[in-house]
Symmetry: C2
Subunit: 225 residues, 2 copies
DNA sequence: CGCGAGCTTGACGTTGTTCAACTAGAGTGG
DNA sequence: CCACTCTAGTTGAACAACGTCAAGCTCGCG
């Protein structure tokens, strides 16, 4: 792997790391391609690696005892995954699962830690990246805690449009069931809401292509609470 | 204020900071006492300070547009507050409100940042402390997302017992309404559940004193989901 | 062509919220 | 010392929101 050809992590690494540390990380890391649906880091495993998402989209999935999943949040590249384990030595609390083909660099945790200990600007940059995911998960928590299902589904569509796909028209790579896991409601509820919104000409769905027609109305619904 | 007489933050500071930096922080910080109900850091304000909770208990409160509150989590000393703002320059996303009389050291953010930039072991220790709160909030999110109200109320009672008061008998400093804000349900629901548990001899409440009688049953209810 | 996963729909039952009325205790002022 | 008020807590009934279930549909793929 040639780290120098990569984006985000490389950018920070090039900016703040010595040639020596850079090479050290290169030696103790591996770049992998994950297909849609593949698990990058698995809930319950030991935190041997930190993952940098170079391209693609990943869900931050918690799998409960009653085989119910919850999607805490969704992130698109460039991001750092396994942020929780930058701070804890706990086993992974969640799984990171690719929902679109993704490129990931896995770096051995202990090597990265050694370098972070000697370079605080570098570590602060990483922490800032890592905590982004926490923040997003907590914003989703607030949405779940305070809003009715319909507003929450609106929140999710808006989130996908604004922060993941950066367009009012996008290829929806989540199934209805996954949307439901994200919104913390039943799949039927998602389906009914989306169908109604199609009738009301708030959005349209052809195959996997979702187009937001009436953005203002969607925002209005989101704010209803 | 004499920083050296304090606990947690001082412990880290003494361990990792030079005499010079220690004094610098002392100059740019202030120790305050907050009474029950007082706001330590207010949602929406600029993040001018980082707070260290030396003693007391604090709720991590989000205030929604529809004047509905959510308690994301609760922490007891020693902890670092305002963790989100160790990473972001955003305004505070939440309020930190004392639910029992608390001692807090407020340190100017920019001064602390300067020192963190030059001392990575120190910053890593702080990050670890700060992210504790995130982790707890996310665990609560998972509970909210996956469980029915009754299990969640059980979770909260267990959490208070195990992590906040460290006893099966404790003085409940939260009102029923606050318990409801924590469990994300209505106050009536909390009341009914607690009443029923009293009848079933799972716990007892006299005035503000709550005693868990049947811990196993409470854990069983929590696991039902 | 047939299979299966994902999607859709409506009926039904459960969970949890809202509302309204009531009680108890704490604080206030005459 | 007694109203008065205010807040927290309590209860039950009516209602809305949401999940579950069961059946049928569609589309892509072997």
């Amino acid at each position: 792997m040639d780290l120098k050809e990569q984006t985000i992590f490389t950018e920070i690494a090039l900016k703040y790391l010595s040639e020596e540390d850079f090479i050290k990380i290169e030696k103790h890391s591996v770049q992998l391609k994950f297909k849609k649906g593949e698990t990058i880091l698995k809930q319950g495993h030991q935190p041997t690696h930190i993952a940098f998402l170079q391209s693609g989209i990943v869900k931050f999935n918690y799998s409960g005892s009653n085989q119910k999943n919850t999607i805490l949040t969704l992130v698109s590249a460039p991001k750092i995954l396994g942020g929780a384990n930058l701070f804890y030595r706990d086993n992974y609390l969640f799984s990171f699962i690719a929902i679109e083909d993704s490129d990931v660099i896995l770096i051995e945790t202990n090597v990265l830690f050694e370098i972070m200990k000697t370079n605080s600007i570098f570590s602060m940059a990483l922490f800032q990246l890592a905590s982004d995911m926490f923040k997003k998960a907590i914003m989703n928590f607030i949405s779940v805690a305070n809003k009715q299902k319909e507003s929450r589904i609106a929140d999710i569509i808006l989130y996908l449009s604004e922060e993941i796909y950066c367009n009012t028209r996008f290829q929806l790579s989540l199934t209805r069931k996954e949307l439901a896991e994200f919104a913390c409601c039943s799949a039927e509820n998602v389906i009914m809401t989306l169908s109604r919104w199609q009738n009301e000409r708030i959005l349209s769905i052809f195959g996997k292509t979702l187009t937001i027609i009436d953005l203002d109305k969607l925002k209005y619904i989101s704010n209803l609470g």
